[in-house]
């Protein structure tokens, strides 16, 4: 369960101070699929960064599995991210000159998983995104859709509890995008991990259980939240 309590994030100081997040609170139950929707510059990326432990809001609490990650030291936050969080980005961020295997193995290396275990995990992850036959290929030779599938394999390989996807279909055509969406929701149901999608695409947001609408750093409204 993710509990966000009164999170306020301010950039700059004094007169130049700008509240990117202003007293944001919500709860995401385990295994849910959540869309954080809003215009660009509205604070949705900042919210994702705050919840995933990449950024540190000055006020509030982000409680994940009972631990307030904002109170942790940076070493513990790094460990938290490597063990519990998977990231998918709009522009993939895969290493074009490395093989698919090397790309997917990175989170396992960072999380200090034994090399003997790694190979099996990477193979499983690649098979689940239908890239099992590309394991030794250079990532740069893949098509756009395949690159994002590779990024998904990298996000799920260490079996994270939460996957953050930042505009996962933003750089893809609609057909490929739909295939990626189906893959993400399929994995969300299959593995029971929580899926948090940051998007401005209403159609994609509508496919999630919960939609959190962000406007000017504040929660505008939340749809589909179970009472």
């Amino acid at each position: 369960m993710i509990e966000v309590k009164h999170v306020t994030m301010t950039y700059g100081k004094k007169q130049n101070a700008f509240k990117a997040l202003d007293d944001v609170s919500f709860v995401i139950p385990d295994g849910a699929s959540v869309a954080i929707v809003g215009k660009s510059g509205g604070g949705k990326s900042t919210l994702m960064h705050s919840v995933s432990g990449l950024d540190r809001p000055q006020q509030g609490k982000v409680i994940i599995d009972g631990v307030d990650i904002l109170s942790l030291k940076s070493k513990a936050v790094d460990k938290f991210r490597s063990e519990k969080i998977g990231f998918i980005f709009q522009s993939f961020f895969i290493q074009a000159n490395e093989t698919c295997f090397e790309n997917v193995a990175l989170p396992l290396e960072i999380a200090d998983i034994a090399p003997s275990v790694r190979k099996k995990r990477v193979e499983e992850a690649l098979i689940s995104v239908e890239l099992g036959d590309k394991i030794k290929q250079k990532a740069g030779n893949l098509s756009g859709g395949q690159k994002q599938r590779l990024a998904i394999a990298r996000a799920i390989v260490n079996r994270p509890r939460i996957i953050f996807a930042d505009e996962p279909t933003g750089n893809l055509d609609s057909t490929t995008g739909e295939a990626i969406e189906n893959l993400l929701f399929g994995l969300n149901k299959e593995t029971g991990s929580t899926l948090v999608i940051v998007t401005h695409d209403e159609d994609l947001a509508a496919k999630c259980n919960i939609q959190i609408y962000i406007k000017d750093g504040k929660i505008d409204h939340i749809d589909g939240e179970k009472k």
């Binding site: 790094d78 990175l106 200090d112």
Partner: protein, 453 residues
């Protein structure tokens, strides 16, 4: 994250930027090349010097002076005056205390000394075969029974025994000059050494001579007295590959040399006073202990070992100069590494951002870049030393030939341990150079780094 994984990733990153990696490491390679050659030349020179000394000089030999100033280079300052000992001025202008005949006798009387030979001052005017043959200037020294010499013709006695008092060892250069047809022809023939001495005359003597015989008597009185010593040529000495100096001195026995010296110096302050003496320590006795005992008595003493370390100091100094140039190249390459790694960090901002977002510690990111730098250092070290070793193997025969060293003597000796140490040191230097770029990488904010443009 495991160190092995970081090292592997670092290697992979370098492989993806081959040209840049190789070019950067070439800068280090230049330094590694110079240092490897310097080390090899130093090792070779030391080994050659050692061979030279052990094949030329008896390890039981001591060089003895009246005090330690004899072995000092440069100015020695004022010497304490003593009525019983005399001072001499050496060619380089240094005033030294001289050894007296009493000193020589005292040292010779020691139970641990086999023999003592002072360095005699012999002012020979010329050497000739006699008759109407030409006369040539000559330096006459004592035959050294502790040095092996190359015999071109004739025979020399075994090591540690001297030639007979009526014999002489003749350098090859004199053979044709003195009118012999060949080296073999010279052996058994005789040569004459001519010495002259200006007499020391007192005023009274001049007055007496003037009174008794007039100007003619004074002339007779002041005429130089001469001495002609004739010796049989025992052997003709050729040039040796491992000879310490190109010796062109005529060598006579100890007793002959003393006779010649006494004649040369009679009436001067140098009469039976010597710069140096060579003593042979008896077999089985450590020359070092005898040296210390003699030093306690106030003498200046050096062993063959000391001579070796003196020569080693010269080798070390020359080697130091070359190493200095190598280090300069390394320092230059350090800036190359820093520059390359900074560019690498800038190029891979997003990769670094991703790794940090995935939970990689800043420390590990920093290490990744430092290991990359270490790889560059390793590559440079290996390239440089391999080229140096190959070049050494190609050049060694040519150097040996050019310097006229004996066959089988290599002036460049490559030892694996210093080369391996050199490569390790270069890796550490490269890692240090990579520190600043690595720190920059580790401090990158993942959010900033991942902001897509």
């Amino acid at each position: 994250m495991r160190t092995t994984d970081i090292i592997r990733r670092a290697g992979r990153s370098l492989k993806n930027a081959k040209a840049r990696t190789v070019l950067t490491s070439l800068a280090i390679a230049v330094g590694a090349f110079t240092l490897t050659l310097a080390l090899a030349a130093g090792a070779g020179a030391r080994s050659y010097t050692h061979t030279l000394l052990t094949s030329n000089i008896d390890p039981q030999i001591l060089a003895i002076g009246a005090n330690s100033n004899v072995f000092k280079a440069g100015q020695t300052g004022p010497q304490e005056y003593s009525a019983t000992s005399s001072l001499g001025t050496r060619a380089n202008g240094i005033t030294i205390k001289l050894l007296s005949q009493a000193d020589i006798n005292k040292i010779a009387a020691r139970s641990d000394i086999a023999s003592v030979t002072p360095t005699y001052t012999i002012d020979a005017q010329y050497v000739t075969q006699g008759g109407d043959q030409k006369k040539y200037t000559a330096d006459v020294t004592t035959y050294d029974p502790f040095v092996t010499q190359t015999v071109a013709a004739g025979t020399l006695p075994a090591l540690r025994s001297s030639i007979a008092d009526n014999q002489i060892a003749l350098p090859e250069v004199y053979v044709s000059l003195l009118g012999f047809t060949s080296d073999q022809d010279a052996v058994g023939k005789t040569v004459t050494i001519h010495l002259a001495r200006t007499p020391t005359i007192t005023q009274t003597q001049i007055e007496q001579a003037l009174a008794s015989g007039g100007a003619a008597a004074v002339e007779t009185l002041s005429a130089p007295s001469t001495m002609d010593a004739t010796y049989t040529i025992a052997a003709v000495i050729g040039k040796s590959a491992t000879a310490l100096t190109s010796n062109s001195d005529l060598e006579v026995s100890n007793a002959s040399a003393k006779a010649l010296s006494d004649f040369s110096t009679l009436g001067t302050s140098n009469y039976q006073e010597y710069d140096l003496a060579t003593a042979s320590v008896k077999e089985g006795i450590n020359p070092e202990t005898v040296k210390n005992a003699l030093i306690k008595q106030g003498y200046g003493v050096e062993t063959a070992q000391d001579l070796q370390s003196l020569l080693f100091t010269i080798v070390d100094t020359l080697q130091g100069v070359v190493i200095g140039f190598g280090l300069l190249a390394i320092v230059t390459s350090v800036f190359g590494i820093i520059n390359t790694q900074y560019i690498s960090v800038l190029e891979r901002t997003r990769e670094i951002g991703l790794m940090k977002a995935l939970g990689m510690r800043g420390r590990h990111v920093s290490r990744l870049f430092q290991f990359e730098a270490a790889w560059i250092g390793f590559l440079g070290g290996v390239i440089g030393s391999i080229i140096a070793v190959l070049l050494g193997f190609l050049l060694n025969p040519a150097i040996t030939k050019a310097l006229g060293l004996g066959k089988g003597t290599n002036l460049l000796i490559f030892q694996p341990v210093p080369i391996v140490l050199l490569i390790i040191v270069l890796m550490l230097v490269a890692m240090l150079a990579g520190y600043f770029p690595a720190r920059k990488a580790s401090k990158l904010d993942p959010i900033e780094a991942l902001r897509t443009e």
